[in-house]
Each structure stands twice: as structure tokens, then as C-alpha cells.
Amino acid sequence: MRENIKEELNALGMGVIDYLETNKLDYPTNRGVGAMFDYASKPGHKLRSGLVFLGFGAVGGVNQSVILPAAAAIELLHKSTLIHDDVVDDDYYRRGLPAFHSKYGESMGVVFGDFVCASSFEVLKRLESDFDKATLVKCFEVFSSVFRDIYRGQLRDLEFEESSDISESDYMGMVGNKTGRLMNGALEIGATLGGGSEKEVRYLSEFGYNFGIAFQIRNDINNITIEKELRKDGGSDIRARKRTLMVIKTLQSENKGELLAIFNKNTIVEEDVNQAIQIFVDNGSIEYARSTVKRYAKKAKKALQEIKQGRPKEILLGLVDYIETDTYWKVHSKNGE
């Protein structure tokens, strides 16, 4: 069942890649734009675009091929945020490959990230002939506000980097924008295009938001647990001094000073990473994060209660099962180059 979910999402993702491959945007072919576009848009597990199809299917949408542009647009918007995110975080690798800016330079990273973002709108436009105008306007509205909320979250995240006193609710708001919003936006757009009722759209949106938060916290837990064992770059969040729920929780405890002492070092070495993880363990921060994942997972599942049974709902629930347990989603890049 679980493996099936992965395969099905993969197949949907491949459909998006094929779609972009056969429906190229209008750009000059002589300036390397094509090669850069392929580099920026191809890899990844296509979870977000999958959610567009699942939202569509969950409300009874049948002809998946008509919403390909929306799925591709969501994926491209996501990709554009990754390019900028990697520049800002000084991450030189993504999924075992050089990050876009490592390959093409920071300046190109900035302007090409913009270009991929603009491409997402251009691709979304292609929905036009298949739907009524009011539905399309709704899609653009949701898409634009998703775009805005992501960067609101990114800006908040930068603000948090300079702060050692962040409340949990502020933190959740930031994660909700940065990660949850694109996921619930994907479902919202899918459900809207599938002709879902207002209620259905709202339930799916609520699912996406809570799932997105749980997904992010799960990723952050994995970074210092499973990834730490499997990959060279495991624990990278600590080296980057990233504000995760574990960090927030620890900063609110008496162990604050110890953790800050590590974060305030000029360079954080392996030993520091291990020490920080030990602080998290002692402080119960990892356990707390696990229980928070469960809490949001439960909310996500509950939001689906009134969505009709069917494969899309099964997959969505299966995705929640996935992140509720300590399993490793990104199994295929073990060495983490």
C-alpha cells in the first residue's frame, strides 16, 4: 500500500515532467535558458503537484489531463522558491546534486528563480480553455496568495534567525506559511478545478495546511535522527542554526544557554552537532516534536472525515501515515553528496 502511494505519486509527477517537456515555454533557445530550466524544474519527488491531482480527484474530478497546467504551475512555483531558498541558506547541494546557484552562480540563481516563478504563472494561464472564467479567476487568486504567503513565511524565518525568543505559535504561523500554504494551495486549486463544493475545498485546504506543518516538523526531526545516520550532511540544520521546533522548544527551557553557546560559535563542528542533539534529547525536544507531528497529523486526518471515500482520499491518509512514523521519505539519496 505504501509503496503504491509512492509509485502513484511518481507516475503523476512524471506526467508533469512530460507535460513541461512537450509544452515548452516561449524563450530563446540560444542562451542556455532551456538547459537551466530543465536543471531547475526536473528533479524532486513531485509531492506538491501530486496534491493538485489528489484534490481534484477527491472531489470527483475525472479527466486529470486537463489540470496538468495547474499541477505543473504549483511544481514550478515550488521549484522557484527552492532556488532562492538555497541561495539565502548557502546550501550548495540539493538532493545530492549541486544546487542551482552552485552550478550557475548566485546572480543567475536570483534572476532565474524569478524566471521560474514567472513561468509558473505562464503555465497556469494555459488552463484557460477548459474551465469557466470564474473558476480560473479563483485559481489565480489562490495561486497569488500562496505565492505571497510563502515569502511572508520566508521573511519571518529570516527574522527568527536573529532571535532567541520565539513563541511556538509564531513559529507555527511561519511554518504554516512557508510549507503548509503551498500544500493546501495545491489541494485548494485541485479541488476548485474539480468543481468541489465550498465545504470540500475548505476541508481539503485544512488537510493540506496541517499536513504541511507535520511534514516540515517530520523533515526537521529526520535531519537530526535518521539522516544523521545515513548521510554525510545529516544534522545540517544545526550547522545552519536553523530554527526548528526542537530549537524553539529548547530555547524556552533551562537548556537555552547551552544551545545558544553552540549556535554562537563561529563554526559548528561535528562534535557540536552531536552535543546539540544530546541537548534536544535531554530536554525532551525531539519527543515533543514527534508528538506535535502526531497532533497535526490527527488534525489533517480529521479534516478529511467528510471527503468521500476513494483512492485520492486513501492516498492522502496514507501520506499522513508516512510522516507520522519515523521513516525516511527521501530514501533514494542515501549518500547525500
Binding site: L25, Y27, P28, R31, G32, V33, M36, T81, H84, V87, V88, G105, S107, M108, V110, V111, F112, G113, D114, F115, C117, A118, S119, F121, E122, L124, K125, E128, D132, K133, A134, L136, V137, F140, E141, F143, S144, S145, F147, R148, I150, Y151, R152, Q154, L155, R156, L158, E159
Partner: protein
């Protein structure tokens, strides 16, 4: 109230319930002539529409422009803008990336604040804004790619993408929201496009004049940055075979000496490239005015005509 004040007031009312974001947003969006958004409002008025109802759209166009400035300055390493620290110099490159993105997103998000209108118009607005966004970015990508040489045609295409496409969009959107016909919308779009091309070409003339006049210029010139402009391209096309090779060599050198800059200036003078550029700018201003000729007479039309009635000879004559 003057249009630029209306726009300023509209922008000042933005708040995101976050002091840091609010002050950064303000810093990045205040000031400037707001020429793009004014063209949108005037285009709306020129076809009989009420410009106060299109303020969200005008602001969307303005924000799209401001977003490119934030990213541009950072990529070009320009530390100053209009005598003030540029955004990334004041805050940081990290904030510049995300705040630029945020301003861009806010631009799209503003479209839903337009008065309730038919879906056709709303969709057309998203269409126009997205098209301009795409062109702006494509222009930026080409710019960063910095080709070793460009023909005049390629250069005009580049400045169309980088700057004229957005003003074209302003004219088009303004006319559309003002209830203009397809034909009127096209006229005002073409007005915007030609007006912007002319302004950009004049900028190139100014760049050359300023390099000649001011020895100590804070902003480096196109030659120093190795960026082709219309004068340099014309000089290349008109000059001797030997000079062509020399110009190419200098433009693609990493560091340009004062002697290099002087050599290029001489070539530009000898080929009368400033005069050539002035004439090309005039041509586009004339085209812009001609485009909107058939529009009904109105105050807005007058204003548009006046905008594009720049006395080039007087302002941009020195230095042949």
C-alpha cells in the same frame, strides 16, 4: 489630488501586521516617479474610465517594477539608488531576495482588490501582469548571461523585455479596466511600449554624457560594466574593422582602464552615435504620440502626449 500622491497614499496604507516587514516594504517601495502606474491611470482615464477604481492595478504595476529594482541592484552590486542605500545594502542580500519576491507576489495579490468586475476582465489582468513578469525575468536572465556582443535588434528586444514590456502592460491594463475597446487598449499598449523604448535609449545617451562630464562617478558606466547600449552598438557597427576588434576586446575585458574608457568614448564620438541614439529616441516618442492620436481628446490624453514630448535636443545635446 495628483496621481502620484494618490499612489503614494495607497502604498502607505499597506500593512502586514509585522513591523519589520512593514518597514522593509516601505523602504523598497517609497519614492520614484511612479511613471508606470501613472501611465496606467492615465490610460484608464483616456478611454473614459475612473482612475480611482484602478489604483490596485496601478499599484500592482508599480510593485512589479519595485521588485525588479530590489533584485537588480543586488545582482548588479549597485549600492546606491537615487542617493539612498539600495535595499540589499541597507538590509542584506538575504532579505533582498525574499522581500523582492514578496513585493512581486503582493503585486499579483493586489489584483483581487479591484472592484468586483466580470471574470473576463479579471482574467485579462492576470494574463497581462503575468506576461510582463515573464518578459521582465527573461530580460534579466539575458542580462546576467551578459552576451559578448549584441546587434541593435537584439538590444532593442532586450530593453523591450527589461523595461518596455511593463509599461506596455500598464497602458493595456489601464485601457482595459477603463472600459476601452480592444483597439484602444492596443493603442495605449503601443504608446507605453514606444514611450519606454525612447526613455531607455535616452538613458543610454545620458550614461555616455555622464561618463564624459563627471570624472568621479559613483555609478559605473555601461562601458566599465561591459554592458552594450545603443550608442556602443552603433559605434561598433559604424567604426573601422580595427576599431571593432578593439571595442570588442575592451568591452569583454575584466577591468577597464581609464584609457580604455577614453578609447571607447572617442569611437562613440567619431561615429556620431549620440546623435544616432537621439534620433532613434525621437522616432519612438513620435510613434508613441502617433499611436494615441485617434483617441478622443481629453485631459488624460493631453498628459500622455506631454509625457512623451521631451525636448531631446535641449536636454541631451551636449557631447555630440
Amino acid at each position: 489630488m495628483k496621481k502620484s500622491e494618490m499612489l503614494q497614499e495607497y502604498l502607505e496604507n499597506f500593512s502586514f501586521n509585522d513591523d519589520t516587514i512593514d518597514s522593509m516594504f516601505r523602504y523598497a517601495t517609497e519614492g520614484g516617479q511612479k511613471i508606470r502606474s501613472q501611465i496606467l491611470l492615465l490610460s484608464c482615464e483616456a478611454v473614459g474610465g475612473d482612475p480611482t477604481k484602478t489604483l490596485p492595478a496601478a499599484t500592482a504595476i508599480e510593485l512589479m517594477h519595485k521588485f525588479t529594482l530590489v533584485h537588480d541592484d543586488m545582482v548588479d552590486k549597485d549600492e546606491l539608488r537615487r542617493g539612498k542605500l539600495s535595499f540589499h545594502a541597507k538590509y542584506s542580500e538575504d532579505y533582498a531576495i525574499f522581500l523582492g519576491d514578496f513585493i512581486c507576489s503582493e503585486s499579483f495579490d493586489l489584483l483581487k482588490k479591484l472592484p468586483k468586475q466580470d471574470s473576463d476582465k479579471a482574467l485579462a489582468c492576470y494574463d497581462i501582469l503575468s506576461d510582463a513578469f515573464y518578459k521582465l525575468c527573461l530580460g534579466e536572465v539575458t542580462d546576467v548571461h551578459s552576451p559578448k556582443f549584441m546587434t541593435e535588434g537584439e538590444y532593442l528586444e532586450l530593453i523591450y523585455l527589461k523595461s518596455a514590456a511593463l509599461i506596455e502592460a500598464a497602458g493595456k491594463m489601464g485601457a482595459l479596466l477603463g472600459g476601452g475597446s480592444g483597439k484602444e487598449s492596443q493603442m495605449l499598449a503601443d504608446f507605453g511600449k514606444n514611450f519606454a523604448l525612447a526613455m531607455q535609449i535616452l538613458n543610454d545617451v545620458k550614461d555616455t554624457l555622464e561618463t564624459e562630464k563627471r570624472k568621479i562617478s559613483k555609478k559605473s558606466s555601461d562601458v566599465q560594466e561591459g554592458k552594450w547600449n545603443i550608442l556602443l552598438i552603433n559605434a561598433f557597427e559604424k567604426t573601422s574593422y580595427y576599431n571593432k576588434k578593439e571595442l570588442l576586446r575592451i568591452m569583454n575585458k575584466k577591468v577597464k582602464t581609464d584609457k580604455d574608457v577614453k578609447t571607447v568614448q572617442r569611437m562613440v564620438r567619431d561615429t556620431k552615435s549620440a546623435g544616432y541614439a537621439r534620433n532613434l529616441a525621437k522616432l519612438h516618442f513620435d510613434r508613441a504620440r502617433k499611436e494615441i492620436g485617434p483617441l478622443k481628446e481629453s485631459k488624460a490624453k493631453e498628459s500622455l502626449l506631454k509625457l512623451s514630448d521631451i525636448n531631446i535636443d535641449e536636454t541631451y545635446w551636449k557631447g555630440k
